[in-house]
Symmetry: C2
Subunit: 197 residues, 2 copies
């Protein structure tokens, strides 16, 4: 049974861990940093999560559902183009609203996903396979142009997450302008043209 204090502190710790892991990667993050951001002592955060590794894992596991929600929300019964455009928009919105989550996963995958448990990767693969099949069926029915559904999904990930993951580079190039200024309009055009039958 979890107490009031446990709920509060686990929350504080996971939020601090997200902050620090996403900005520095697993190896670059230190428990001292996380403790400082959480406003707790280091032994105390280790009281709630047995090790740095477990903390990281709890974070990934807890965020997976949020992270995959936009893809889950694709409705096989809906209008193909509207569904995919909606997915793209939701994913871009995620990059805007949850850049830390995006960078957390990016750090992990970039280094070969050495800490992604099989349960997490299995969930991911199954969902993608399922959604790819839906898109393929739309293609086969002539309701979408013939395109590889996996590459379509990858391209949506790539372009939307780019704004969160490579924010530093975009800022460097675009100066004071908001990195996402014009992004939605641009992506709208890209996918609208791609999906036109």
């Amino acid at each position: 049974m979890t107490t009031r204090i446990q709920r509060r502190n686990r929350g504080l710790i996971l939020d601090a861990a997200l902050e620090v892991f996403s900005a520095n990667g697993f190896r670059g993050a230190t428990l001292d940093q996380i403790a400082a951001v959480a406003g707790l002592s280091k032994p105390n955060i280790l009281y709630y999560f047995d090790s740095k590794e477990r903390m990281h894992n709890a974070l990934l596991e807890g965020l997976l559902d949020v992270w995959l929600a936009p893809l889950r929300a694709i409705d096989p019964e809906g209008d193909p183009r509207a569904q995919i455009m909606g997915y793209m928009r939701r994913k871009l919105q995620m990059s805007r609203d949850y850049p830390r989550e995006s960078r957390l996963f990016a750090n992990e995958v970039l280094q070969g996903a050495p800490r992604l448990e099989t349960s997490i990767s299995g969930t991911l693969r199954d969902l993608v396979d399922d959604r790819a099949a839906v898109i393929q069926a739309w293609s086969d029915a002539g309701r979408l142009p013939a395109i590889d559904p996996y590459h379509l999904i990858f391209s949506i990930w790539a372009m939307t997450q780019h704004y969160a993951d490579f924010d530093a580079q975009i800022r460097l190039i675009r100066g004071k302008r908001d990195p996402m200024d014009g992004a939605e309009a641009f992506l709208e055009i890209v996918f609208e043209r791609l999906l036109r039958v």
Copy 2:
């Protein structure tokens, strides 16, 4: 004056450093690992590069030109669509041939580019501004559809580098298939449709 031995060892070290930094990030890489991969002792690699930081920096600086070559190769006098399609193809080829370089820069940018010297970032920004202006001029002359040239460049980066940077994720989803199978054909369609006047 640089000796034969210096040339050989600096080369060995930078290649090992690329291997280790790109796979683990700056903080995750250790000098012991780099020394082992280079086949030299740790004090010896520090004889050639004063510190881990300098080694990393020498690597980024040395690779910048290679990395930006495809963008440089865009010819303002050429055919707009062919030039941009060619750029996309060269960039995808880079992801295939030089995934380590892609991941090295990705790691750095993902963590906020804390070690990108101003000379490097200046070079990058100037080149992108220049090429964006070329693309804008093509648009203004009606030789390309009206699209934001910066977002166009970002989208090419995003989609091509995705195959190198997130290789682990793609492999997870696609199983045994080569992650880049079908990528070129897909990107060809995306940009061909986007750039049609």
